[in-house]
């Protein structure tokens, strides 16, 4: 589904990603871990197409297409979803309106019919229940005045509504208490499907107690320094990142 080859990226002239190789197949869940400043968020944003990141080398193939060639919204239409570390507030923009406009924009781009108001409301209520999002929040402005946990749940709701092929979760666990973390993890687990791939970017391994990855990658200094199965998470918990960095440097 996603094949990243020797991806190099700079921000304001400084090279952050120094050659990333990663292959993600449909149905898989990949976790990307690493210390602060290792390039995890940069990887997530480059894949989503955010401005300010210069790709200086390599290529990315998504569902058989050159991903880097596409505009931000085209990537979204193709089925790429990025759950943000800091969901943005949109004052005055009704959450339901935003969800409906997004969903219909994606559907239009895929040549599907727009969803009517009744069908949409049914769907959104059901999905909100699934991610345990208070229905009151649907009527408020997007993320405006939401608590940290509410914002993250709102991200999961958007993901559940848009049903992406590839979802990237950028530090979705940051700033969450254990209950919120569990809810978010449940939402993510619900999204697991043989047609869908997930990339979970996280600093802490605690999220991986709830979301069990098929593959785990350690990112350090702009490179993937180690890849392994879920057992790697426990090793990281016990030994930290230090041994990997040393091993890599050696």
């Amino acid at each position: 589904m996603l094949r990243i080859r020797d991806l190099r990226t700079s921000v304001e002239g400084k090279e952050i990603l120094k050659g990333i190789d990663l292959e993600v197949k449909a149905g898989e869940v990949h976790a990307v871990m690493g210390p602060n400043g290792s390039g995890k968020s940069t990887l997530a944003h480059v894949l989503a197409g955010r401005d300010g990141y210069q790709v200086t080398g390599g290529d990315v193939e998504f569902l058989g297409q050159d991903l880097l060639d596409l505009e931000v919204e085209e990537r979204a239409h193709k089925g790429l979803f990025l759950a943000m570390q800091y969901p943005v507030e949109l004052p005055g923009v009704n959450n339901l309106t935003f969800l409906r406009e997004s969903l219909n924009a994606v559907r239009r781009a895929r040549g599907e019919e727009e969803m009517d108001a009744v069908g949409f409301m049914k769907l959104v209520r059901r999905k909100a229940d699934e991610v345990k999002l208070d229905h009151k929040l649907l009527k408020r402005s997007v993320n405006a005045g939401f608590s940290g946990g509410e914002k993250k749940r709102n991200e999961i709701l958007q993901m559940a509504m848009l049903e992406p092929r590839l979802a990237i979760l950028d530090e979705t666990d940051s700033g969450l208490d254990i209950d919120a973390l569990r809810t978010v993890a449940d939402g993510v687990n619900m999204m697991r499907s043989p047609e869908r791939a997930l990339i979970v970017v996280t600093h802490y391994q605690r999220l991986l107690e709830y979301i069990e990855p098929d593959h785990l990658h350690v990112l350090a200094g702009g490179r993937i320094v180690h890849s392994g199965g879920k057992e790697l998470a426990f090793e990281l918990e016990e030994r930290g990142y230090g041994w990997l960095l040393e091993e890599n440097a050696a």
Binding site: E73, G92, A109, Q158
Partner: protein, 481 residues
């Protein structure tokens, strides 16, 4: 005097003899302003002597006044002698119904999307269309007449209802009020007159579309709305204008009078030509709008969406004289390119327990400059009067500017004044967020802007609100990125 009076009179008469011609030719006075021009305007309109006198008094006073310099607007000096002060479509006698209206005129309205037709009837809106300076079509007079509502052109009102006009015209905005009001009082060409009798709720929304069509013709509209005790009226005003090379002056005066328990809602969508990218050719819009809440518990509400004009100078105001009277001002002003807006309101609290609400939303994009200027005055008699002001600015890009000039004067210790102001930017992060969810950049901007303006749009009548949203999306197209 540039043209001898007699010669002017002859000119006027000979013009009229040519009668009805298509394509529409305008009956336009040559550029320039002096007493002869004012007499000619008054004569063309068949006005009584007292009206001419009022005009001349205003003109003589205008000559003594300096042009105001206090706003934050910048423009080259206006040459008042290079402007023509009268232009009217040809037909000599006003049409009695739509069949008598020049089809070419109707076609122009069609193009502008102004529906003077059965659809409008179904929508329940009466339209008094002002093409250049003279009212050419008025619909729905009958149901209004049955309710006792007078809705006609100002010229007609001066002829048909002179007592009412004399009683109220110039009483809210006297000719000495300001430079542009004085000019308007001297040369106003036409406008709208509305009178709602005691206890009557106007059976439909009243609507006037203005359009400036003739090059180099200043537009000097005069509007007067009188709501007798216990009456209600909602009035809509919308404007468009075609492409133009020279700056055009527009100096309208609107006066509202609300007696006991009366309620007037005045909504404006203004979309005049803003000029090209260098700021050439846009309309200069110097407007004086004021409402007099004369009666106890009267209520005047101004709602405006200002997206057009090169220069907007406009402060729709309320004089809260009656006890428990209420004044409201809801405004969205958009400036982009080289547009400049200096707009806001004045709330003058005189009576006890008077209340006012101000919600101002300024949007600046590209090199647009947007200023909110508002006065809240609590006079000594304004016991327990209250004001709440919310003043928000939204910036798009980094070359635009937003300014807020609140003036607050409180002379009564029991009065309460609240002022809140925010400035925000349409952020790159917001646009990225929306686009990542599949929205195009333009839809994202339009969604953010409409969210920002929501509090004002909800005050507009339904069909206007939809129009205003579209207008905003269109006018900010390409302003981002």
């Amino acid at each position: 005097m540039s043209v001898p009076e007699q010669q002017m009179d002859e000119l006027v008469r000979s013009e009229y003899k040519q009668g009805f011609i298509t394509p529409i030719e305008s009956d336009t006075l040559p550029p320039g302003l002096d007493e002869g021009v004012i007499r000619a305007i008054s004569e063309k309109k068949g006005e009584p002597e007292w009206m001419l006198e009022k005009r001349l008094v205003a003109y003589r006073h205008w000559l003594t006044m300096p042009e105001p310099q206090w706003s934050s607007l910048h423009h080259p000096p206006i040459d008042f002698q290079s402007i023509s002060y009268f232009s009217s479509p040809r037909p000599k006698d006003g049409p009695k119904n739509l069949d008598e209206v020049d089809p070419e005129l109707l076609e122009t309205y069609e193009k502008l999307g102004i529906p003077i037709d059965e659809q409008k009837a179904l929508a329940g809106v009466a339209v008094d269309a002002v093409f250049d300076s003279v009212s050419v079509a008025t619909t729905f007079r009958k149901p209004l007449a049955e309710a006792g509502v007078l809705f006609c052109s100002m010229s007609e009102a001066i002829r048909e209802y002179p007592d009412l006009v004399r009683q109220y015209l110039g009483k809210v905005v006297p000719h000495k009020d300001n430079y542009f009001a004085a000019l308007n009082s001297a040369v106003f060409s036409d406008g709208t007159f509305v009178y709602i009798p005691r206890g009557v709720r106007c059976p439909m929304e009243l609507s006037t579309y203005f359009r400036i069509n003739e090059a180099k013709t200043g537009q000097f509209e005069r509007t007067l709305i009188v709501a007798e005790a216990g009456s209600h009226v909602s009035y809509l005003e919308g404007c468009t204008a075609p492409m133009r090379d020279e700056n055009q002056l527009h100096a309208a005066v609107v006066e509202l009078v609300a007696l006991e328990d009366a309620r007037i809602k005045y909504s404006t969508v203004q979309n005049w030509y803003p000029g090209d990218a260098q700021g050439r050719g846009g309309i200069y819009n110097f407007v004086t709008k004021r409402g007099d809440c004369r009666g106890d518990r009267s209520h005047i509400s101004w709602t405006q969406v200002e997206t057009g004009s090169a220069i907007t100078w406009k402060y729709p105001s309320c004089i809260l004289r009656g006890k428990d009277s209420v004044g409201e001002f809801y405004s969205v002003a958009v400036t982009k390119g080289r547009q400049q807006a200096d707009t806001g309101t004045k709330m003058i609290h005189i009576g006890e327990n008077t209340r006012s609400t101000i919600v101002s939303k300024g949007i600046s994009a590209m090199q647009g400059s947007n200023a909110y200027r508002g006065l809240v005055r609590m006079t000594t008699g304004a016991e327990n009067a209250r004001n709440h002001t919310q003043c928000d600015s939204l910036l798009i890009g980094d070359r635009c500017s937003a300014h807020t000039y609140p003036y607050i004067e409180v002379k009564n210790p029991t009065a309460t004044v609240e002022h809140e102001a925010t400035t925000s930017k349409v952020g790159e992060d917001q646009l990225f967020y929306c686009r990542q969810r599949g929205l195009s950049e333009e839809d994202a901007v339009s969604m953010i802007i409409n969210g920002f303006c929501k509090e004002v749009f909800k005050e507009l009548p339904m069909e206007f609100a939809v129009e205003a949203q579209k207008l905003l999306a269109v006018s900010l197209e390409g302003a981002v990125g």
